[in-house]
């Protein structure tokens, strides 16, 4: 037994070493940094570092911009996340429907945005959203709706970002949901049909319950990803206008790598870590509660 244990450790060692060195060590270092005021002065002379305990966290919680970023991030995750899953579900049902032809073509088209480079498509979407010459306002104008300053108006900037993110990301969730749909035994649908169940009833009582594991997985992955919103506002709005698209990660990036307040930036990273952890546990609990 002892020999087997040792063998297991030896076999695991390379992976554990790598994880320890490249994952646990930086996380521990960041945790320590978040209790200091490590910044540009400390880079010049390490003696300029002070141990300040929880002061970074206290400052952070007292900053309106932090709450703004937190609210923006939640807005994005809570609206964008479910929207992504819904769009993905709709697309998956459509692509999987028996009557639809050219299934693989549609699957490819819907999946394509996911594998594009975000920075490039974000620039293209900037053109679509252009207040004067953008395609979107052109279409709105054609049906008699006033022009909207998509990225310049604090009320519309976040919905605009959500639009891009949903378009960019739903393809991946769609693929997983398609796999989930295809694993539902056909006999169940036939049995339900014999019992006189219509389309909606079959969806509600056969598809949805059996798709739940896939939906939960997609929901968790999407939420975690969306809580880490960064590149879309970084490229499209730089967090503006009036900070309406500043996310927690964008705030962290600004503090740590633009202003070199690395201690403070680390504190933001840990707050985000706790939020992601709580959100994930909550979703997993939700699933267990419902299936029990």
């Amino acid at each position: 037994m002892k020999g087997a244990g040792r063998a297991a450790w030896v076999l695991l060692a390379p992976a554990l070493l790598l994880i320890g060195f490249f994952f646990l060590l930086p996380v521990a270092a960041a945790a320590i940094l978040s209790f200091t005021d490590f910044d540009i002065y400390a880079v010049g002379d390490p003696a300029n570092t002070r141990w300040i305990g929880l002061a970074n966290y206290a400052t952070l919680l007292g900053q309106p911009v932090f709450w703004r970023a937190l609210a923006n991030t939640c807005y994005f995750a809570l609206v964008g996340g479910p929207l992504s899953v819904l769009v993905a579900l709709g697309a998956a049902l459509m692509v999987n429907a028996r009557v639809v032809r050219y299934k693989s073509l549609f699957r490819t088209i819907y999946f394509a945005p996911f594998v594009t480079t975000l920075v490039a498509v974000a620039l293209v979407w900037r053109y679509l959203y252009h207040p004067q010459y953008g395609l979107l306002n052109y279409v709105l104008g054609a049906i008699g709706l006033g022009p909207i300053d998509w990225l310049g108006d604090p009320r519309w900037a976040m919905p605009a970002i959500i639009g891009l993110a949903v378009w960019k990301n739903f393809g991946y969730s769609m693929l997983i949901l398609i796999a989930g749909l295809q694993s539902i035994p056909q006999e169940l649908y036939e049995a339900a049909e014999l019992d006189g169940a219509g389309g909606w009833t079959r969806f509600r009582y056969v598809t949805l319950p059996l798709l739940r594991p896939a939906l939960v997985f997609v929901g968790v992955i999407t939420t975690i990803g969306y809580l880490q919103l960064f590149a879309e506002p970084y490229v499209m709005t730089q967090g503006g206008p009036l900070r309406s698209t500043t996310s927690l990660v964008l705030l962290m990036y600004e503090e740590a790598f633009r202003w070199w307040r690395i201690g403070y930036g680390s504190a933001i990273a840990f707050v985000l870590f706790v939020i992601v952890l709580v959100a994930t546990l909550l979703q997993l609990r939700l699933q267990r509660g419902e299936s029990a």
Binding site: I40, V43, G44, T59, H130, D149, G240, L242, F257, W259
Partner: protein, 426 residues
Amino acid sequence: MSPRASAGLGLLALCAVLVGCGRPAPPKAETIQFWALGREGEAVEPLVREFERQHPGIRVRLQQIPFSAAHEKLLTAYMGDAVPDVAQLGNTWVAELTVLDALERLDSHVASSSSVDSADYFPGIWQTNLIHDGLYGIPWYVDTRVIFYRTDLLARAGFPAMPATWPDWVAAMRSLKQLAGGHRYPIFLPTNEWAQPVIFGMQAGSPILKDGDRYGAFADSAFRRGFEFYVGLFRDGFAPPLGANDIGNVYQEFARGTFAMWITGPWNIGQMRAQLPPEVQEQWGTAPLPGPDGDSSRVSFAGGSSLVLFRRSRHAAAAWQLIEFLSRPDQQVRFYELTGDLPARRSAWTRSGLATDRYARAFWEQLQRVRPLPKVPEWELIATRVLEYAELSIRGRTPPDAALGRLDREVDRSLAKRRWVLGRVP
């Protein structure tokens, strides 16, 4: 290969070795690393090659770095011990790198130099590189803000020349507004630029920061006067509350008369010449900024880039020669011709005729009255905060007084570490 042939080759090789030994070995070339940013990084190439021709013992490895990545790259290079020998640096970054003690003091180099003459530089520009009485950079090219305006529109409003004082300027904007109406504006002040509110504050006499750059001076009366003037231009409908990215093609709109004046920098001389349609080419001009209290208040900020020497350089002498070469008036003129960047040396201006050039003349006048921005590593952060609070006031979310009070508190908090560090050093 036959034995005879290989013997012949061997003999040849032997001869080559002997001949080689007979002569003194050529001096080993010294290689220096030079980082230049953005467009300047590309344009400086021929100057660097010319330098190599004139200094056969020195090779220059020129690395071009995009402006947007330069700040992070310089700091990470410092941490990773991979800094170059010479670099181009935005004037406002010099303070940050001196905090890291990364830059070589240049006072003694300049004192013994036959070509770099501090008196030939614009005084305000030269001061940007003086930190705690030490000189840490040689200005390479300069930048500041002036007014670009439509001469025809201003003349129609009854102002054949650009006004020199705030009251006259406002009067001009008022009559422009009456003439234009609708979606036309007297002036364009991009709301995504901190330069304009900061300049108006400077003009009203604000030091921007006070007590040895330990605290913000934004809520003090001088800055408040400039800030209220700035916000007033939006409130009175003289300036549209738009950023540079919100307006589409700025040159097209300027040509259409969507706005008659625009506070911007020297790169737009070339842009205007290239982008404006022919019928507008005779209808625009440049002018130094008006001021609130006479000519001495008509100031703007001292911007541009400098050349710096890194302390860790092992080729300091050769690197300094490159800085000297690029600072020569003839090379400054050549660099202007290649880039359109305005030279830092006044003799380069007079020699090239720039000082009397129709469009550059306004910059020549303005550069005699430029002031450095606060020389603290936190400046970029502070400038961003100014921008945020200015935007809040422009959009009517926060009245100027409250915005400036909050701005000061936030700036003071950002400078807390600086105060502590300054307190530590005896």
